[in-house]
């Protein structure tokens, strides 16, 4: 009897890229629902818009590169990039800015470097930084959370704002938009207000901004699911959150009124999203366990530094991109000791 010859190992392989990506998408669901609950339909609309644009852009570029399209699309990595980008941007961002961001992410940052597995920079974060630097006003126009917003927009109104219809009758742009808690904290600290005074504002919840802290919780839940399912390893999230916390607690200890306390930083902005979903992107992160600890901790520290003394209120994207640059070097210097070799054996 004749058989076809395949190569070892002759086993049913348990892992696949598609499975990992699916779990990431599922883990994003609780946080996305929270975002939608607190901040309206903008997030969902952007998710749909970004997903469609990402898949279309990837298919287009693959066709130009004469590569098979189906396997690349079905690994869902473009979808994940789109969803992460959509979750990071303000809900009322004009559609064309989202489009620019996604096209940049997929075409330039990912495919031009060689496609999945070859890009040195995190595509979603590179796109975020591009639109943040290019369109600072639009990118800093956030919404207030539902409990604080006197005029929450409904689905059609949101659609209208995003697609260029302008604000609904009777409202002004200034009335709708608001700054993020991080932003507010920064501006008010610059005005030399003390933390205890700032926190008196109704904007604040228990440890973060109202609404924002719950979004953080739900993303944390998603992240823990990913850890449990072994889609990500613990080193990067723990190190990043640790990095932020340690820096924040250190400075808070030094001057309680000038620096917000640790948990504030953890639950504001994109810290939790970054720790579990963005910094853990395997393609652009460090790969050795020790290296991942250094990578995560450095991202956390840089995030804190830029937030406190840098020019932007939220800094996760910049920190991630900076550490993407350093990842190969970190890998080179954190190689594990090989079985049967002494610690001193080089390379």
């Amino acid at each position: 009897m004749h058989f076809s010859v395949t190569h070892s190992p002759h086993t049913d392989r348990p892992n696949s890229v598609t499975r990992s990506m699916l779990w990431v998408i599922l883990a994003l669901v609780p946080g996305s629902i929270a975002l939608t609950w607190y901040f309206g339909w903008g997030v969902v609309i952007h998710m749909v818009l970004a997903s469609v644009a990402a898949i279309a852009a990837e298919a287009f570029v693959l066709k130009l590169r004469k590569r098979p399209i189906r396997p690349a699309i079905s690994d869902l990595s473009a979808l994940v990039t789109a969803l992460l980008f959509a979750v990071a941007i303000p809900p009322l961002l004009p559609w064309w800015i989202t489009l620019i961001g996604i096209l940049f992410a997929i075409i330039v940052v990912k495919q031009l470097y060689g496609g999945l597995g070859y890009n040195p920079f995190n595509p979603a974060m590179a796109a975020y930084v591009l639109v943040l630097v290019s369109y600072p006003v639009d990118m800093t126009s956030w919404l207030a959370p539902r409990m604080l917003d006197p005029h929450p927009l409904d689905f059609l109104q949101t659609l209208g704002v995003i697609f260029g219809q302008g604000v609904p009758a009777g409202m002004t742009w200034d009335a709708i938009t608001s700054a993020t808690p991080l932003d507010v904290m920064r501006t008010q600290l610059d005005l030399n207000l003390m933390i205890s005074e700032i926190r008196q504002s109704p904007l604040w919840g228990d440890f973060g901004g109202l609404g924002w802290e719950w979004v953080g919780n739900w993303f944390l839940l998603g992240g823990l699911v990913l850890l449990y399912k072994r889609v990500i390893t613990w080193q990067i999230p723990v190190a990043m959150l640790g990095g932020v916390l340690v820096m924040a607690m250190l400075f808070h200890f030094l001057d309680q009124e000038a620096y917000p306390f640790g948990l504030f930083h953890v639950f504001s902005g994109g810290t939790i999203l970054g720790a579990f979903f963005i910094a853990t992107d395997p393609v652009t992160a460090s790969t050795t366990p020790r290296g991942q600890l250094i990578y995560g901790a450095a991202i956390g520290a840089i995030t804190y530094i830029i937030r406190t003394w840098g020019g932007y209120p939220d800094a996760v994207a910049f920190a991630v991109l900076l550490m993407n640059l350093a990842a190969p070097t970190i890998d080179y210097y954190t190689q594990p000791r090989v079985f049967g070799h002494q610690e001193s054996d080089g390379d």
Partner: protein
């Protein structure tokens, strides 16, 4: 972690990095006792069933051989002889298909069995082996053709002879059998524990080891019990049966040594460098047969398993039995059989067809269904997730090795310790992109060896070329020197009586004068030119034959001339 052991209540075990928990699928084939494989009509015995130099045939086609007779002798120090697994007639010594990943044939001795199964005269039984010297025991083991039966097939007598300056403190017996599906060692320990422990006693004596550790994975409780009883029954006080956690690849020699003793075999070394020698339970049993009964290695247990076989089982098989015969005896293929794997699923290789013989190292035939061995599909790009490094039992960086092997940058791959890779397959198994990682490393290793061979060949060729150039230059130089000398000599010559004449003509004239003088002298003595008289018989015969040939030649030429 602490695990139960027979000697100490709690023995501290160690861990190796990585490894996998695989579904072991042992229950398919370990449910019934070992059967006896029927003697096939033909036994195909490859001459190279071991690592090292192939054996050289001692028999010729048509010769009658008896069971246990040595039919091929070991060549050189790292080699092993081959014995006939049954009596019969040698019908062929030629290339036949063998179980090899290349699918290429190799030289084999084919015996047509006569069904008598008649034993040859065996060497005397050495029941009191303690009185024998190490050299005698080693020679016996070598003559019995025993090689490592765990799969590596390294000649056992060489492994048992680490050299006078290496003290062996510990003998490790490998009963781990960590690969899924394979159960032959399990069944051997369950049913023939006395034979295994007899072998252990001999090996301990031979090596002068202080202790013996038998490592068995905890998914084999019956084997652990049987071995414990046998060890106690034989009174082997320095031997312990140690239960180790089930984890692939804990049966790898270096990994098992680490688990049991905590020692790491150095990268470019062998276990003897840390005072340990490791043998498979099957090898120990074969050593017992060889020493105590003088029987050579001519049969072994083979597991036939997988959803592609009707009746998975373990069989005692004569070496040289074709795989197709065994599968037939196990009920044949089920309709789900899609791949036939020689060995286990992690480290075995697929066979294109089943008419290959069972060799000394063949432990399993796995007929896998599509469900058990699905097509992994085309490989996706590496997403640098690092799972391969997490799973590697040697703490290598398979990802880096993959990138450089793919780029064919052999120097860099070796920098990442390519030759430490044991090709266990853990990395390929966990890769989410389904990249055939082990294939890259096998390719890279072969290329490195090839490159080294080519480099040596090129160096050798360069030396020959330079020697040749030097030789030609030397000949040329000598020629020039000779010519110069002649010219100088001839320049001097004109002073000797032929002044004014052309020196060449003068030389010819002088030669002719000498010849004429000689002729005259001989004629005066009455001697004729001697090449047509006083011929001996041979010469006369040669002349007649030459004349005949000449006549033939001119003959046909005449007849072939057509006007």
């Amino acid at each position: 972690m602490h695990y139960p052991s027979t000697r100490e209540k709690q023995r501290r075990l160690h861990r190796f990095h990585g490894g996998l928990h695989l579904p072991d699928n042992k229950q398919l084939s370990n449910g019934q006792p070992v059967g006896q494989a029927a003697l096939p009509e033909r036994l195909v015995l490859p001459l190279n069933q071991h690592i090292g130099t192939p054996a050289k045939p001692l028999v010729k086609t048509g010769e009658q051989v008896l069971k246990g007779q040595m039919i091929a002798a070991a060549q050189g120090p790292v080699s092993a002889p081959v014995h006939a697994s049954s009596s019969g007639i040698v019908i062929d010594i030629a290339d036949h298909p063998i179980a090899h990943p290349s699918g290429l044939p190799a030289p084999c001795i084919v015996i047509e069995t006569d069904g008598q199964d008649q034993w040859t005269a065996l060497p005397e039984a050495w029941l009191e082996f303690e009185h024998k010297t190490a050299e005698e025991l080693l020679q016996r083991i070598r003559d019995a053709g025993i090689v490592g039966m765990g799969g590596a097939a390294f000649p056992t007598s060489v492994k048992l002879n680490p050299g006078p300056d290496r003290k062996i403190e510990t003998l490790v017996i490998n009963g781990a059998e960590c690969e899924p599906y394979i159960t032959c060692d399990d069944m051997l320990m369950r049913e023939q524990a006395e034979r295994v422990t007899a072998g252990i006693a001999i090996l301990c004596h031979l090596l002068g080891a202080d202790e013996c550790l038998i490592g068995i994975e905890d998914n084999k409780p019956e084997a652990i019990q049987a071995m414990t009883r046998a060890v106690a029954g034989r009174g082997l006080t320095q031997t312990e049966v140690i239960t180790i956690p089930t984890r692939y690849p804990s049966g790898g020699e270096k990994q098992l040594i680490r688990i049991l003793t905590g020692k790491e075999v150095p990268s470019s070394g062998i276990p003897a460098h840390v005072g340990i020698v490791c043998h498979n339970v099957g090898t120990a049993a074969a050593v017992a047969d060889a020493v105590l009964q003088g029987k050579p290695l001519i049969s072994r247990l083979v597991t036939l398993t997988g959803e592609g076989i009707e009746r998975p089982c373990n069989l005692e098989v004569a070496i040289g039995t074709p795989a197709s015969e065994l599968i037939r005896q196990a009920g044949g293929y089920s309709d789900q059989a899609s791949h036939l794997i020689f060995g286990g699923p992690m480290m075995g290789f697929a066979l294109p067809q089943d008419s290959v013989p069972i060799t000394k190292a063949a432990n399993c035939l796995l007929a896998a269904s599509e469900r058990e061995d699905p097509d992994p599909g085309p490989a996706m790009p590496c997403i640098r997730c690092g799972r391969c490094a997490d799973a590697c039992p040697v703490t290598l960086l398979p990802q880096q090795m993959y990138w450089y092997a793919r780029a064919k940058d052999l120097e860099k791959v070796q920098e990442y310790n390519l030759f430490d890779c044991i090709e266990c397959g853990c990395c390929s198994h966990v890769c989410p992109s389904h990249i055939p990682l082990v294939q890259y490393y096998r390719y890279a290793k072969n290329e490195c060896w090839d490159q080294e061979r080519e480099r040596q060949k090129a160096e050798h060729a360069r030396q020959r070329h330079e020697a040749r150039t030097a030789r030609l230059a030397r000949i040329e130089a000598e020629k020039q020197a000779r010519l110069k000398k002649k010219k100088a000599a001839l320049k001097k010559k004109p002073a000797a009586g032929t002044a004014g004449k052309d020196p060449k003509k003068a030389a010819i004239e002088a030669a002719m004068q000498r010849a004429a003088k000689k002729k005259a002298k001989l004629a005066a003595e009455g001697v004729e030119p001697a090449n047509t008289s006083d011929l001996n018989a041979t010469q006369k015969g040669q002349i007649e034959r030459a004349d005949a040939r000449r006549a033939e030649k001119t003959g046909p030429e005449q007849t072939s001339e057509t006007p």
